[in-house]
């Protein structure tokens, strides 16, 4: 034990006496470990975020978009009768249609017309079951109901971001102007993860859209369909149910598939980063071997005198191996710390929950130690083989 302490002391003394060189050698393991830890940590944090998103969205929501039929020059729509047909499918529990309106300038408060003309707020004619279908609650008030629909009342629900921008307070009686026409705000919809654009949108009934904005018929351009069982099968059936073999069609997709695909892309990118990190570790190892080999030549006099003082070849080899070990340990610890810092920064910036395995951190730090020790073997052996008489230049 005492011998081990002495060896460590000699190794540290050798390293600290040449601080800049030691720091430069250490850069390899630091960068390698940091890159790998960051790649894995960001990947895991991102996966955790996606998983949470997937769970929030549910895996049973189908999005149906109208696709172009033969009506050139018109926006594709799904006829209202088709919506009723989709609702009658056995596994479907909720359906809502939406249609985005155009050429409407929304002015949430006085004096903001120029800004909202430049950055228009989406205005959406919506079915009445949107919150139930998307499983998104209202943070204030209520959603559009049958009375609003039948009476054509000028009422609107706004997205949460718009409400924040608007300075809307819960329960407050306010109006929002659409091309100068005032609409009473009756509720605020919570964040819609699947459709972030809805967070700054204004929702109105199809009746209002037809009465005030010249919409010809209550046909949506998009359907949201909730089918808790046989989701994929329902998604495959919907285009046929919508078009009945006719020219007007629809595309159905399960949005969770998109998120899965995104996850796969992230995985590939992270694999690439891990490979680059591994490469940095290998290059770092070569750097250690290279610089330490040069160091052995530079320190040949020290090696010679230590041999003359009674240090055996084995002790000399261990001294240099311990120097490599110390570089690996310090490089591994610093690299793991830097990597963890990068993961924290990225997770913080992207709003992820930081996921980092302590076992993984220790594991990669140990890989750095392994690389450093393997890299140190050659210079250590070289140091041990030096003949003291040649290095001391007697006489």
């Amino acid at each position: 034990m005492r011998r081990l302490r002495e060896l460590l002391g000699v190794a540290f003394s050798g390293l600290t006496s040449r601080k800049v060189r030691t720091l430069l050698i250490m850069l390899g393991p630091v960068l390698g470990v940091a890159a790998i830890v960051a790649a894995i940590g960001i990947n895991e944090s991102s996966k955790g975020h996606l998983k949470a998103k997937l769970q929030e969205l549910g895996t049973d929501l189908i999005v149906v978009n109208a696709s172009s039929g033969l009506g050139f020059g018109q926006d594709p729509v799904i006829e209202a009768a088709a919506v009723a047909r989709v609702r009658r499918l056995p596994d479907v529990v909720a359906v809502t249609g939406t249609r985005q309106m155009s050429d409407i300038v929304t002015v949430p408060f006085a004096g903001a017309e120029d800004y909202y003309r430049a950055f228009p707020v989406p205005v959406i004619a919506s079915g009445l079951d949107l919150p139930e279908t998307l499983e998104v609650p209202l943070v204030s008030g209520r959603f559009l109901n049958d009375f609003d629909e039948s009476s054509g009342a000028r009422v609107a629900v706004i997205g949460r971001d718009l409400a924040d921008e608007y300075g809307y307070m819960r329960g407050e009686s306010r109006t929002i102007e659409l091309n100068g026409v005032p609409y009473g705000v009756i509720g605020v919809l919570d964040y819609v993860l699947l459709e972030p654009s809805m967070d700054s949108a204004v929702f109105m009934t199809f009746t209002s859209a037809m009465d005030d904005w010249d919409l010809e018929d209550p046909d949506p351009s998009r359907l949201y369909v909730r089918a808790p069982t046989n989701t994929v099968q329902v998604a495959e059936e919907i285009p046929t149910v919508v078009s009945l073999g006719g020219p007007d069609g629809a595309n159905a997709s399960v949005p969770t598939d998109l998120l899965d695909a995104q996850s796969q892309v992230d995985e590939s990118l992270n694999n690439l980063t891990k490979m680059m990190g591994g490469l940095a570790l290998v290059v770092g190892g070569v750097g250690i071997a290279n610089v330490m080999s040069i160091s052995v030549i530079q320190r040949s006099s020290e090696i010679g005198i230590r041999r003359a003082l009674g240090h055996s070849r084995g002790t000399i080899a261990l001294q240099f191996l311990f120097e490599a070990l110390a570089i690996g340990v310090l490089g591994g610890i610093v690299g793991a710390g830097v990597g963890a810092g990068v993961v924290w920064a990225v997770a913080d910036a992207r709003g992820y929950t930081m996921v980092l395995s302590v076992v993984g951190l220790i594991g990669w730090a140990l890989v750095s130690v392994g690389v450093a020790v393997v890299a140190g073997l050659y210079p250590s052996t070289k140091a041990a083989r030096l003949e003291p008489l040649e290095t001391l230049r007697l006489g």
Partner: protein, 230 residues
């Protein structure tokens, strides 16, 4: 009869394989405890080879090297290193101090791996530095010392392990005459009945500071004289 601390028995050292150079030829020599001897000879006479073999830094091509009666040629590297560390102290012409260590650190380097505690190591190192008159400079690095002081640190390092023999290779070769005298004085003071001192030199003034003078030529001992006290 005093103990023989170092002995060469018919030792030869041949360098090279295709072109062979016989640096040392059938040399037999005893060094006893308490002796102060010098080895002299012109360049190429085999002095340094002899010193390397006496210090067990090299092995002979033939013959036996005994350190305190043990045949060093039959030992493993680790055993030979241990024997060298315990029995022999070295002083070199170029001092060979480790630049990043203080004077104490350099002396302590000779005391490593001997089962001593850090406190014991430091105590013995300071004591050795006191012996050569450098107690006050113990925390200085080699670069902060003169050549003579560096050589005295090297001598402290050589005696810190209380070896049976101190082998010095041209110890005054890199010093001015004033510092050379000081160093010779230190060697004189180090003489004791238990410790032999052997100086390899080409400087006859240094050689005559010793009691016994061995002259070499062409790898052989050509004279082994006892000198009158000066």
């Amino acid at each position: 009869m005093t103990e023989t601390v170092l002995a060469l028995e018919g030792v030869s050292r041949v360098y090279g394989e295709e072109v062979q150079v016989r640096a040392l030829d059938e040399v037999t020599l005893d060094i006893r405890a308490g002796e102060f001897l010098s080895i002299v000879g012109p360049s190429g006479s085999g002095k340094s080879t002899l010193l390397g073999l006496l210090g067990v830094l090299d092995l002979p091509t033939s013959g036996i090297v005994r350190v305190r009666g043990t045949d060093a040629t039959q030992l493993s590297d680790a055993e030979r290193s241990r024997l060298r560390g315990e029995a022999i102290g070295f002083v070199f012409q170029q001092f060979h101090l480790i630049p990043h260590l203080t004077a104490t650190g350099n002396v302590e380097a000779a005391l490593l791996y001997r089962g001593l505690s850090a406190r014991e190591r430091r105590g013995r190192a300071l004591s050795a530095l006191e012996q050569v008159g450098l107690g006050a400079r113990h925390d200085h690095r080699p670069v902060q010392m003169s050549g003579g002081e560096q050589q005295r640190v090297a001598i402290a390092r050589a005696i810190a392990t209380e070896p049976s023999v101190v082998l010095a290779d041209e110890p005054t070769g890199a010093l001015d005459s004033h510092n050379a005298e000081n160093v010779l004085q230190v060697f004189g003071d180090l003489q004791s009945p238990e410790r032999a001192i052997c100086i390899v030199t080409h400087d006859l003034h240094v050689a005559h500071a010793a009691r016994r003078k061995i002259s070499m030529l062409d790898g052989k001992i050509v004279a082994d004289e006892i000198l009158a006290s000066t």
